[in-house]
């Protein structure tokens, strides 16, 4: 991949405060700066209330900064004239699959955005076909949307966003309401899209999902606490636990062993890595 490091998304000194009846509310984002290059798979982790959803809503102009700037491919999200361009470039998928389906038939739902954008019918058809292929929902194209499982609905929601032809897709806890099977399918879909060049921003509190990203940003209290590779982030077991996040059991075990003074790697994220690390530690098998 490695395109030129052009930032698809850029937040500069972003501050956001909710205001209520003219009263100044709580500051949710505190001087946050973040650049996302084109083609990256970024995971944003944090517990409830850390500001991660508020950040997501800034990435396509659903919310506008109180202070600072958000740029989408160089366009300021405050630019009223360009807001539709921005929304078309950055698609959003939310937590609750039931809130995102507008039509009663899968393919009609996926066609909704391109129809509204005035795309010619032949191209709509192509886009819908492509989007349904990408999300593994092609076989259900004529199904009623209400008959789908949560995970399938969420894939239809992703397909609907894809049909708009975005450069980036932002997902705010898309798997929080899904079962493990549905979660795995969504993650596989996102990885495939990313490999095909789509920029992906995944807001989550599941560590195993974040472990699959190129880069992990950990947020706490409206600020960026960590910004690194998944392995480097998950090695910081105590800091993550201190802000109420989970660490994969494998990473926690190795961390605890290190605390006992045992020399073992910190950054084994998968079961396989952990098994290798422990075998290295235990030496050969006695017979």
């Amino acid at each position: 991949m490695e395109k030129m490091a052009e930032n698809l998304l850029e937040c500069r000194d972003l501050v956001f405060r909710y205001s209520r009846e003219g009263q100044q509310g709580e500051t949710v984002l505190k001087d946050l700066s973040l650049s996302v290059p084109s083609g990256q798979f970024l995971a944003v982790l944090g517990h409830n209330g850390c500001g991660k959803s508020t950040l997501a809503k800034h990435l396509n102009g659903i919310l506008l900064p109180t202070e600072g700037t958000v740029l989408v491919e160089g366009i300021d999200t405050r630019d009223d004239e360009r807001i539709f361009d921005i929304r078309q470039k950055v698609g959003m998928v939310f937590q609750n699959p039931d809130n995102q389906i507008v039509a009663t038939i899968v393919e009609e739902d996926v066609a909704f955005a391109p129809e509204n954008l005035g795309v010619p019918p032949e191209e709509i058809r192509q886009r819908v076909n492509w989007a349904l292929e990408q999300t593994g929902m092609a076989s259900r194209r004529e199904s009623a949307t209400y008959q789908l499982s949560g995970g399938q609905k969420q894939r239809v929601a992703i397909a609907g966003v894809l049909a708009m032809g975005p450069d980036c897709i932002v997902l705010d806890e898309p798997t929080a309401m899904l079962d493990p099977h549905g979660r795995r399918r969504i993650l596989a879909t996102l990885r495939e899209l990313n490999q095909a060049g789509m920029t992906v921003v995944l807001i989550t509190h599941y560590m195993d999902e974040a472990a699959q990203a190129d880069r992990v940003v950990v947020m706490n209290d409206g600020e960026i606490l960590m910004d690194d590779s998944p392995a480097a982030v998950f090695a910081r077991v105590e800091e993550l636990q201190a802000i109420g996040l989970d660490v994969p059991q494998t990473a926690e075990l190795l961390h605890q062993l290190r605390r006992e003074g045992i020399d073992c790697p910190e950054d084994a994220l998968t079961v396989e890595d952990c098994v290798e690390a422990l075998c290295g530690l235990l030496g050969g098998v006695d017979r």
Partner: protein, 290 residues
Amino acid sequence: MSAPVIETRGLGYVYNPGLPTEKVALRDVNLQIERGEFVGVIGQTGSGKSTLIQQLNGLLRPTSGQVLIDGEDIWQDKEQLRRFRFKVGLCFQYPEYQLFEESVYKDISFGPKNMGLSEGEVDARVRDAARFVGLGEEMLDKSPFELSGGQKRRVAIAGVLAMDPEVLILDEPTAGLDPRGRDMILGQIRAYHAEKGNTVLLVSHSMEDVAKFATKVLVLNDTGVLLYGTVDEVFSRAEEIRAIGLGIPQITQVFRALRQRGYPVSDTVYTVAQAKGEILRLLAERGAAR
């Protein structure tokens, strides 16, 4: 010998029988759950979990077979059904959407009031339930709609606890919560179970949580019971569990892999603490041997 608190005999359930949308949700389910167990209920979406738990307090009527609570068929006399609804408290997924009263206190008291308890008894129940879920006195007069999502969830759970059911069924009580909220609610349910000694059924997708909190595990697959047994019994059958698309705890997978490679480690490791103990034991033995 007392009867199991929950028993199903040949329980079957078909949605929309006779219609083109007919769907068999449960087929010949025979299950006995003993009093006082903390049962983790796992299974893929569509395996019949929700249908089963709705049978257990009579929200759905079996299309075949029986549901017995304390040895009594709950559908034997329709007039008596209400009694079983009080015995078996069911807390749905996303229960916070079901809050409706103008104060937290009133919402929690709805169940016990309907049971016909005296005002004093209702008050005691409400306060006790609020304590279990960690809602302070100052919260009781608030509107449920002023609360955060996690707080609302706890109010809804308190509403079920206040009925002091013999069997408490929770359908994914931690869905959508972050790890901190999840640990808080599961810890409170565990404390409630320990203090009351009643039967708890917890529907969960998290094998780690089930391994940590449950005494028994019920695995449902494709309209029936695949496995029912202790945590050790069930998780030792990893292949069967994986075959139906469910996982076993990550750390359990690590230890099974170590055993396969010939290391003499326990294959009943579910928590990081157990894992650490095993590794330290092994290292010490190896050190002593050298």
